[in-house]
Symmetry: C2
Subunit: 418 residues, 2 copies
């Protein structure tokens, strides 16, 4: 491997690769690790109906089988704007600012490529989405974790860290703040309305004194709310949002990850640079999938599907919270966040217990037949100290019964380690 690039070397050993390998190694285990979506509620009927209509429309089918443009099918980009800004039509971006990607993850990658040189700094909640941490690491960026609680990133801590970086003469290196406002992966937190305003205020203030700073707002889970009222997106809360917010969305969670259509709404000045990079990678994500999702969206299949999966996931979330209370409610030092949406619960164990890959708990848990994501995968390399006694639990894949058994086994392992 002596011919690998620096970027290749920095990309090595991604947790997601290890997680997948682990899942293959222990196929009979109950996985509370996998980020897959619920298999039973995948939109088979909805997709069949849509696809039949697409196949029956010769002009549309032919267009779908041909190359598209780098930014993606304009009709879908338009429809996404209409759909996501139905409640805030005054904030609709022009269609040119929407880029379609292979999952919203690809947009995260494009942003990292466009914005970050080695040594540049990205701030994110600790914990945060570990695949993006891998992307940032590959780009050679410094990632700095900010203390977060059940309401997401703590903005006093963010401000303090920004002040510190500024006083160290590193202000010019601070390129972006990454945030998952709704049902954070893995933090299971939702940024309160007050914090949304405060975050925008901090970002604007920084920009006026230090120059460019991008807010990368990952709305991947936004549609998966199981109770309470939706909160406005960050982009819809500020009149100058278009100058500094890149907002991401995806149909992978709300409809189907196998179709794999995501998107970004990006500042106008970023459109061309991102498309230049994307044109080198694939000059446009699969056109067929985009035509298909266009139908699914405008023919109402997505909206019909959403209540169905919300019900399914709400039951699973409830099963997980009930099992955690029953199995671990009495263990001192064990606590967890109770999200109102998304696919994850964030579990904290007593301080002296490590949940790391290979540690005693991990070994016993896999022996007992349950897999989880060690929380330490999800911590930025600097800033907020890694809490090794944390775990990301997914309730997306397992049945409510599987979740109950999985939590029971995990509790057994925790008690044994204690």
């Amino acid at each position: 491997m002596d011919n690998m690039s620096q970027r290749g070397i920095r990309s090595a050993g991604q947790p997601i690769g290890r997680l997948m390998a682990q899942a293959l190694q222990f196929p009979d285990l109950i996985s509370l690790a996998a980020g897959f979506v619920d298999n039973g509620s995948l939109p088979c009927e909805e997709s069949t109906a849509c696809m039949q209509r697409l196949l029956a429309d010769p002009g549309d089918l032919r267009a779908a089988l041909q190359y598209g443009s780098t930014a993606g099918y304009p009709a879908l980009r338009s429809a996404i704007i209409d759909w996501t800004y139905a409640k805030a039509p005054e904030c609709k971006p022009p269609v040119e600012q929407v880029i379609l990607t292979s999952g919203s993850n690809q947009l995260l990658h494009l942003l990292a490529e466009a914005l970050l040189d080695p040594g540049d700094i990205v701030l994110a909640a600790a914990p945060t989405y570990f695949v993006f941490l891998g992307t940032l690491q590959a780009a050679g960026a410094r990632t700095i974790g900010i203390h977060a609680d059940e309401q997401g990133m703590c903005l006093d801590s963010l401000q303090a860290k920004l002040d510190e970086l500024s006083s160290l003469g590193l202000a010019h290196r601070v390129k972006a703040i990454y945030v998952i406002p709704d049902f954070d992966n893995p933090g299971a937190s939702t940024l309160s309305l007050e914090r949304r305003h405060e975050l925008l205020h901090i970002a604007m203030k920084w920009r006026s004194s230090h120059g460019p700073l991008m807010l990368i707002v990952d709305n991947a889970y936004q549609q998966l709310r199981y109770e309470g009222e939706s909160l406005p997106t960050l982009r819809s809360l500020h009149p100058e949002a278009d100058d500094f917010i890149a907002e991401l969305g995806t149909f992978s969670k709300s409809f189907s990850p196998g179709i794999r259509v995501g998107w970004g709404v990006v500042p106008e000045y970023l459109v061309e640079p991102l498309l230049d990079i994307k044109s080198n990678i694939d000059f446009g994500s699969p056109h067929f999938a985009q035509h298909f999702m266009y139908r699914a969206l405008i023919e109402g299949e997505v909206e019909r599907h959403l209540p169905r999966i919300r019900t399914v996931y709400q039951k699973k979330l409830q099963a997980m919270l009930t099992a955690l209370q029953a199995e671990m409610g009495d263990i001192p030092g064990v606590h967890w966040r109770k999200p109102s949406g998304g696919l994850y619960v964030w579990l904290t164990l007593p301080e002296h217990i490590s949940a790391s890959e290979g540690a005693q708990l991990w070994q016993i848990a896999t022996q007992y037949g349950v897999l989880y994501v060690p929380g330490d995968y999800c911590y930025p390399a600097e800033g907020q100290a890694v809490e090794y006694n944390t775990i990301r639990l997914s309730f997306g894949v397992q049945s409510p019964e599987g979740i109950a058994v999985g939590i029971q086994k995990l509790a057994q392992a925790v008690r044994e380690v204690i």
Copy 2:
């Protein structure tokens, strides 16, 4: 744009972006520029048949709608090996060495990411595939063009350039040779069997004295042969090929670019690094498209479709060659290559005429209503001098009649400039 990364800056101004903008600016023009495939012969019936069977298989449909793995659907990877190595079963790679991507172009990008640091060197025919030149430029690599003729890269020139680089103390910077052996884009050349052996010999010799060197073999057009016998792929010609050849293929030309499934067969030691990078970008290309292409391949739709498009393209190629002879055969200094496959003809004008974007010929041609790809887009930054009097002509999109009219207009423009 003062917050762009070096990579972002190096990615700016890709010709493909300008070409697409140009096509939008002049929608009524006859485009001999676009690299799109023939619209009329897109596999509408074949796709409908396949899709109906996929929709009728509930287990398969459900699996297709879920996430897949980063490397892609194993059954398709296996089927691709069986299909592409039907004539050389002894050379079949293990399925683990096959990676599915969004078009083979994404594999080119992954290879560049994995192998190249700024200042590293890639050798390629002059001219060569301009999108890959953009990728290499973004990676900060040096691209060195090697003289090429109608039989592809001239290997004396390659050897001379390698010797020169070695004597300059740059041997450790030489990371890859990129080659499109069949119906080169844009050179319209096919590497002869003798040159295939010679290229392998040169690469092996270099490796034994200087260490790692990757042969990146782009077989995108291999299935589009309209006359003569297929030549063996480079990977099937050398027992140690698996140590140093990365071979690319795609269904974009042979079936549908809208489905957009490509693949690479890569050395074993490169699998994990490439998947690490891919897992950061998209952790796997769209699974649905892979299940669909699996059916298209094993149910014989690809094989049924191929003779049909070969006939269509052969007629178009013939129309282009006939028109060139009729319209420009008598202009001194004008000549062109006559490929036996692919989608392109490489045209050379008298030396003093520039075909560059914005030059007189380009302006008159667009006035007369015809678009082409200026050949200078396709030259590596160093090595073989750019020939500005060259043009890439695509015969994929236009009808035979459109091709005849387009060449007539182009000839008119050439005569006017002369």
